[in-house]
């Protein structure tokens, strides 16, 4: 994985958008030229900013790295506001400013039964996780989603690992979904649980992991201005109640070491 080497090589790059879109959508797969990354850890993220944004939005936007190959890097993006809607309107060859890979990644121990708990766009990092894992036969993907399944890369992932998906049609579905998450987790008491998704989803996972003493890692989402640990705008409390930057000390934290 060469993380150490890689981290020293984090640079700001200007790369081209390789895709095109036929029509506007709220879920887009954004494929950029590979900015020269040789390796990354699934769970790491990058900050993106379209070159033409100008000054109205002074911040880049953080997105999990979904997959990387020699030519390209792919992100899965849900349009929720000003930056994501601009990214979803990029045209072919338009230039995007990118810095990354940033932060840490999920643990990927070989031969360990590992449950991947994804909520919505939280599925993004697991795409690359599955592809690069030393023993994918030990992985199980549990995917809770709201939008239709085909907005997500679930099916290609389900071809590679054991997978199940459950749709939240309304908040009435939540108790059952939570129950299923907990049941799934119980099956990994001796293994590892990795979770990425909205904060309430992570809280559920954390509570059950602590209760049942299951080893779990959570990928947190916070508004980020710099992405590199400098602004202190993205902090959460660690186990000792001290503020730590989610961007540089996370975004992945052991469930026992973080207050969310």
């Amino acid at each position: 994985m060469m993380l150490e080497r890689n981290c020293r090589e984090v640079k700001v790059r200007e790369v081209r958008f390789l895709g095109t879109w036929d029509e506007p959508s709220d879920f887009v797969e954004l494929t950029l030229e590979n900015p020269g990354w040789e390796a990354y850890l699934p769970g790491q993220f990058a900050m993106l900013r379209a070159k033409h944004w100008g000054l109205e939005l002074p911040w880049g936007r953080p997105f999990s790295i979904s997959r990387v190959d020699a030519e390209s890097v792919t992100f899965l993006i849900q349009v929720v506001g000003r930056g994501t809607s601009r990214l979803a309107r990029l045209r072919q060859d338009e230039v995007v400013i990118i810095w990354g890979p940033l932060g840490n990644g999920f643990s990927a121990p070989a031969g360990t039964p590992t449950l991947l708990l994804a909520g919505g766009m939280g599925i993004a990092p697991f795409r690359g996780y599955i592809e690069s894992h030393p023993s994918p036969e030990f992985l199980h993907l549990f995917f809770a989603h709201r939008a239709a399944l085909d907005f997500y890369p679930y099916l290609v992932m389900a071809e590679k690992v054991r997978a199940e998906a459950v749709q939240e049609h309304s908040t009435d579905d939540l108790p059952e979904i939570i129950a299923r998450i907990e049941t799934a987790m119980d099956g990994y008491a001796g293994g590892l649980v990795l979770a990425c998704g909205p904060t309430p989803f992570l809280r559920t996972v954390q509570a059950h992991a602590l209760k049942k003493n299951i080893r779990a890692e959570l990928s947190l989402e916070k508004t980020m201005a710099c992405g590199v640990g400098a602004c202190l705008g993205c902090v959460c409390k660690d186990g000792q109640g001290r503020n730590v930057q989610v961007c540089s000390r996370g975004p992945v934290f052991p469930a026992a070491d973080v207050q969310i």
């Binding site: 700001v12 002074p58 911040w59 400098a230 602004c231 993205c234």
Partner: protein, 305 residues
Amino acid sequence: MIDLRVEFAGLVLKNPIITASGTFGFGLEFAAFGDLKRLGGIVVKGLSLKPREGNPMPRVAETPCGMLNAIGIQNPGVEAFLRDKLPLLPWRETAIIANMYASSVPEFGELAQVLSVEEGVAALEVNVSCPNVSFGGAAFGQDPAQIRKVTEEVKKHAKGKPVIVKLSPNVTDIAACAQAAQDGGADAVSLINTLLGMAVDIRTRRPTLANVVGGLSGPAIKPVALRCVHQVCRKVLIPVIGIGGIVSAEDALEFILLGAAAVQVGTANFLRPDQSFRIIDDLPRAMIKARSDSLGELRGSLKLP
């Protein structure tokens, strides 16, 4: 090769581009993005005597061409800085300026005492203008008499290190505040700190920041910063460091034309983490636009009607 060196207040900087406090961490966060030795200077995150956790989250919000922050001077304390960070910084090659925050005049003196014995600290920047702390901070910065007192106290303990007083724009008369700093013995003033602002989320009906109010920075405030620097440059004799909304070499030159000896780059470091380095690279080109090859000639050369 254009000579970009600037000298003022006992400092000799390779170039007039200094990174602003709170926007460049302790510098080390940016080592991957450029050679820190190339910077004119680095003002580190605000330091207090004791570690501080800062304000509750959320504490940043993006606004049109700007941002609000209410970090509340989270920092590991001056001792940890001197022990863990300063030794790793290229302080022999680049001016490392300590930004100081305290909640009383004597505490400012104590902090100055601790910092001024350090060879690696090039100068002290006194933050009397932080809008994000309930005690001290802007309270000092809005009252010229207090500014003078704090300046005198810091100066007394600075052991000859240059003392830069950082001013708040949230006042009726910023020139009077600069005058007070000069009267208190400041070697320079830096301005502006952030404008007091606020954001509201209509969905939750809550202020976006847990602290309710925060400091506005970024390109949005550049016109206010230019006006303040103009007013102060015409009032005081000590050097002025211009801050506020600088994102390009052209922006930096605007402040220098008004009379600033150097500038600080803040929010622009979030546009992209190599932005301060890019501004330095771009300075010579911008100077050509202003038809000059000398910062000395440019400084204060604004033609007024």
